[in-house]
C-alpha cells in the first residue's frame, strides 16, 4: 500500500510538472474571426491586396496588444464569390467555429446575413462605404466609412469653398449606372443633395450609363457644353476609364473625382499613366495612399517589416487595414472592459455602440474623425469625415484631410 501511495504521488507530481510545462506562460484565449472574401468572383483582382491588409493588422494586434490582454484572434478566410446564396449556405458552418466578430466584404454578405446576425449575435465590420438603402437602425454589419453620398457631398462642399470661391454653386455632372443598386442609390443621393443645396451645387446632369460603357464621349460632351466644372465618377473602374478617355478624346481637362475602388492608383495603367490624370481627385473616408511620409504609411511599413504584410502600398490594401483596425480596436475595448477570456459577440456589439474610438487609434486609415457607431445607422454618423487626394505633376498627393461631411437627410 505504501509503495502504491509513493508511486501515485510521484506519478501525480510528474504529471503536474509535464502539464505545467506544456501550458504557455500567460495563456491566450483564441477567438475565430471569419473574413468573408471574394477570391473567385468579381473582386478576385483586389483580394490579393485587401486580404493581406487584414492579416497584417491581426498579426500586429495579436503580438502587440492581444498578448497583453490574453486574446488571440485567428483570421479564417472564407471565399463567398461575392454571392448571397454562397454566403447564406456558408454562414451556419462559420457559426460552428463560434466567431465573436467578423469581417465583411460587401453587399451580398449584408444581404445574406443582416436579418440573422442579431439572433446569431455576431457583429461584422465592413470596410466599404455604406449605402443609403442600408441606412436602417439596429444593424449588425457596421461600415467603417459613411455612405458614398456622404463622402461625395463632403468633397463637393470642400470643392465649392476652396476651388469655386464659396460664393456660387459648382456646376457638377455625375456618371453612374442603374445596373447596380449601390450606384443607382448613389445617383439618387447626390440628386437629392443637389436639390436641397442649390447654393452649393448645380447638378448639370446625372448621367446613367452602362456599368461597363464602351464610350461616353457623347454624354461627356453634353455635360461639358452645359458648363460642368467637375465630373463625379465614384462608381467603378470601367466607368472611370470611359469618362477619362472621353475627356482625353474631347481635349478637355475638367477635373474628375473618383472613389477608393476606382482610385487613380487603380486607373493609372488603364489610362496610360498617373500623369494622365493630373488634376483629378480621389475622395473617400480612408487613407489616400500617397508616397508622403504619413502616419498611415509608417504603420504600413511596420506591418511589412515585422508582421508579414506582403501587399503593396495601395488604396485597396488600405481598405483591408482600415477594416481590420476597427475590428481589433473593438475587441481591444471589450477585452479591457470585460476581460480577454469572456468575450462574446453581443459584448462586442455593445462595445461598438457604447465606445467612441478615437481617430488616433487608426493611424490615419479612417476619414479622420472619431469612430462612433450608434443604433441609428450602420456607419459612423456623428462625425464622419473624408480625405481628399489629387494627382499633381503625375503624383498622388493629399490635398485635404479630415474634411467634415454635411449632415444628410435620408434620400
Amino acid at each position: 500500500m505504501k509503495t502504491f501511495k509513493r508511486w501515485a504521488t510521484s506519478a501525480a507530481t510528474v504529471a503536474g510538472l509535464v502539464a505545467s510545462a506544456a501550458l504557455p506562460v500567460g495563456a491566450q484565449t483564441v477567438y475565430q474571426v471569419p473574413a468573408l472574401s471574394d477570391y473567385s468572383g468579381p473582386f478576385a483582382a483586389i483580394m490579393p491586396m485587401l486580404g493581406p491588409g487584414r492579416e497584417g493588422v491581426v498579426n500586429w494586434w495579436n503580438a502587440e496588444h492581444g498578448a497583453k490582454l490574453g486574446v488571440k484572434l485567428e483570421l479564417k478566410t472564407y471565399d463567398t464569390r461575392y454571392d448571397t446564396a454562397q454566403t447564406a449556405s456558408l454562414w451556419p458552418g462559420v457559426l460552428a467555429t463560434k466567431p465573436v466578430i467578423g469581417l465583411s466584404l460587401g453587399g451580398p454578405d449584408t444581404s445574406a446575413l443582416q436579418q440573422r446576425l442579431p439572433t446569431d449575435k455576431v457583429p461584422m465590420i465592413l470596410g466599404s462605404a455604406a449605402t443609403g438603402f442600408g441606412w436602417r437602425p439596429n444593424q449588425w454589419v457596421m461600415a467603417t466609412r459613411p455612405t458614398f453620398v456622404h463622402e461625395a457631398t463632403g468633397f463637393l462642399e470642400w470643392f465649392q469653398k476652396n476651388k469655386a470661391g464659396g460664393n456660387r454653386p459648382v456646376k457638377v455632372a455625375m456618371f453612374t449606372t442603374e445596373a447596380s443598386p449601390t450606384f443607382a442609390d448613389l445617383g439618387k443621393g447626390i440628386t437629392a443633395y443637389a436639390k436641397a443645396n442649390p447654393n452649393t451645387v448645380n447638378l448639370v446632369e446625372m448621367v446613367y450609363v452602362e456599368p461597363q460603357p464602351a464610350d461616353v464621349t457623347l454624354q461627356l460632351r453634353r455635360v461639358l457644353n452645359a458648363g460642368a466644372e467637375l465630373i463625379l465618377v465614384p462608381t467603378n473602374i470601367q466607368q472611370a476609364v470611359a469618362v477619362k478617355r472621353a475627356m482625353q478624346a474631347l481635349g478637355k481637362n475638367v477635373p474628375i473625382a473618383y472613389s477608393i475602388q476606382n482610385s487613380p492608383a487603380m486607373l493609372q495603367k488603364l489610362v496610360g499613366s498617373m500623369g494622365a490624370m493630373d488634376g483629378d481627385y480621389e475622395v473617400h473616408a480612408g487613407v489616400i495612399a500617397t508616397e508622403e511620409d504619413t502616419e498611415a504609411k509608417k504603420f504600413y511599413d511596420l506591418l511589412v517589416a515585422k508582421y508579414g504584410l506582403k501587399a503593396p502600398w495601395h488604396s485597396i490594401t488600405t481598405i483591408g487595414i482600415n477594416q481590420a483596425l476597427v475590428m481589433v480596436r473593438v475587441v481591444e475595448a471589450a477585452a479591457k472592459k470585460h476581460g480577454g477570456d469572456k468575450l462574446t459577440g453581443e459584448m462586442l456589439y455593445n462595445t461598438l455602440l457604447e465606445t467612441t474610438f478615437p481617430a488616433k487609434d487608426f493611424y490615419g486609415f479612417t476619414g479622420g474623425g472619431d469612430i462612433d457607431f450608434s443604433v441609428e445607422a450602420p456607419f459612423p454618423i456623428k462625425d464622419p469625415r473624408v480625405n481628399i487626394g489629387q494627382v499633381v505633376g503625375g503624383k498622388l498627393t493629399t490635398v485635404a484631410k479630415g474634411v467634415p461631411v454635411p449632415k444628410l437627410a435620408k434620400w
Binding site: M47, Q86, A88, L90, P92, Q115, G134, P181, A184
Partner: protein
C-alpha cells in the same frame, strides 16, 4: 426496362413511378435520411441542404420548360426574383409562408407567361435573348418603381415568417420547410410531365410543326411551359425569402440562371430526377471547393489564398467541362445505361 421477373398486370402498376421493392426501400431510406439530417449532421450541412432544396425547385421548373418543352429559358433567376418579391410582400403583411409561396409562385407565373407568349413566334437563340430581357426588365422595375412598393435598391425585409403557427426562424425549421416543399413540388412535376400537358410539351419539343398538325395548340403549350416553369421559380423565390428574410434585386442575376442551366444539363435534359441530381452535384461541388479552400490554406499556408481559391474555381470548372465532354447527356443517362447493364447481366446482348 424493368428487372427480370417484374411485370405488371394493371394499368396503374404499369404507370407506377417506383416499380420495385428495392426502389421503394431506397427511396424511403433517402427520404428518411434527408428528413432526419438536421439531427445527425452539422449546421453547415443543414444550410447546404436548404439552399440545395430551394435551387432544386427552380431547376425542376427549368427542366419542365427547357428539358421537356424545349423552350430555352435564361430568365429563371428573374422569375425567382419576382416570386421572392411577391412572397416577401405577402409575408411582410403577416401572411402564412405557404400562402406567401403561392402568391410568389402566381406572381412569377404571370410574369413568366408574358415571355412564354413570345415563344409562340420565336425559338432557339432568339428566344434565349428574349428571356434575358426578363432579367433586365425585373432589374429595371424593382429599381425604378416607387420605393414604397418594392423597397428600391434596398429591397424588402421580412421580420418573421411562420407556417401553420410554426416559426421559421432557425436553420432546422427552414430546412424541413424547404424539404417538404421540394417533395411536394417534385411530385407535382412528375404529375405534370406524365399528364396530357407533359406529352404536349414533349411533342412540341421534338417537332412543333408536327405537334401542331396533330392538333396540339403549340403557342398555348409553349406559354404553359413558361407558366409552369416560372411558378416553380416563384415558389423557390418564396423559399428564398423564408431562408434570408430579405430580398433584393442583386440576389437574382443572370449568372444564377446560367448556373441553373448547368445543373439541368449535368443532371440530364428531360428528367425530373436529373434536375435533382444535377442540382445536388453542382451544389455539392461548389460547397466542396468553398469549404476545402480555407482548410487547405491552414494546412499549407505557404500557398497563397488567392492561388488556392482561384484553383478551386478552376477545379470546379474542369469537373463540369470533363463531365460535358464524357457524358453530355447528363448523369441520368449514365445511370440508365448502368441500370440496364446491371439488369441484363450476365447477358449483355
Amino acid at each position: 426496362m424493368d428487372p427480370s421477373g417484374i411485370f405488371f398486370t394493371s394499368h396503374a402498376g404499369d404507370r407506377s413511378l417506383v416499380r420495385t421493392r428495392a426502389q421503394w426501400v431506397c427511396l424511403l431510406a433517402l427520404l428518411l435520411a434527408l428528413a432526419t439530417l438536421p439531427w445527425w449532421a452539422s449546421d453547415r450541412w443543414v444550410s447546404i441542404g436548404y439552399t440545395t432544396f430551394i435551387t432544386a425547385v427552380a431547376v425542376i421548373g427549368l427542366q419542365i420548360c427547357t428539358g421537356y418543352a424545349g423552350q430555352i429559358n435564361l430568365g429563371q433567376s428573374a422569375f425567382m426574383g419576382v416570386g421572392a418579391y411577391g412572397a416577401a410582400l405577402a409575408m411582410a403583411a403577416g401572411w402564412d409562408a405557404l400562402a406567401g409561396l403561392l402568391i410568389g409562385g402566381a406572381g412569377a407565373a404571370l410574369f413568366g407567361v408574358m415571355f412564354g407568349l413570345t415563344a409562340a413566334r420565336i425559338k432557339g437563340f432568339y428566344l434565349a435573348l428574349t428571356t434575358i430581357a426578363a432579367q433586365a426588365l425585373f432589374h429595371f422595375l424593382v429599381l425604378n418603381l416607387p420605393q414604397g412598393w418594392l423597397g428600391g435598391a434596398g429591397g424588402l425585409h421580412v421580420q418573421r415568417t411562420t407556417t401553420l403557427g410554426i416559426a421559421l426562424d432557425n436553420d432546422r425549421a427552414i430546412y424541413w420547410f424547404s424539404f417538404v416543399v421540394l417533395v411536394v413540388m417534385t411530385i407535382g412535376a412528375f404529375g405534370i410531365v406524365r399528364s396530357r400537358h407533359g406529352r404536349s410539351f414533349e411533342a412540341v419539343r421534338d417537332d412543333d410543326v408536327a405537334a401542331g398538325m396533330m392538333g396540339i395548340p403549340v403557342a398555348a403549350t409553349k406559354a404553359r411551359a413558361f407558366l409552369v416553369s416560372a411558378f416553380y421559380a416563384g415558389v423557390a423565390g418564396g423559399l428564398w425569402v423564408v431562408a434570408l428574410r430579405h430580398v433584393s434585386v442583386e440576389q437574382f442575376t443572370l449568372f444564377n440562371a446560367i448556373w441553373m442551366i448547368a445543373m439541368m444539363i449535368v443532371g440530364g435534359l428531360g428528367s425530373i430526377v436529373g434536375a435533382l441530381v444535377g442540382t445536388v452535384m453542382i451544389q455539392l461541388a461548389r460547397e466542396g471547393v468553398t469549404s476545402l479552400g480555407p482548410s487547405f490554406i491552414q494546412w499549407v499556408p505557404a500557398v497563397g489564398q488567392d492561388f488556392v481559391f482561384a484553383a478551386m474555381n478552376v477545379l470546379l470548372g474542369t469537373v463540369i467541362i470533363l463531365f460535358l465532354l464524357f457524358e453530355p447527356k447528363g448523369v441520368m443517362h449514365r445511370v440508365e445505361i448502368s441500370k440496364q447493364a446491371y439488369r441484363l447481366w450476365p447477358f449483355p446482348y
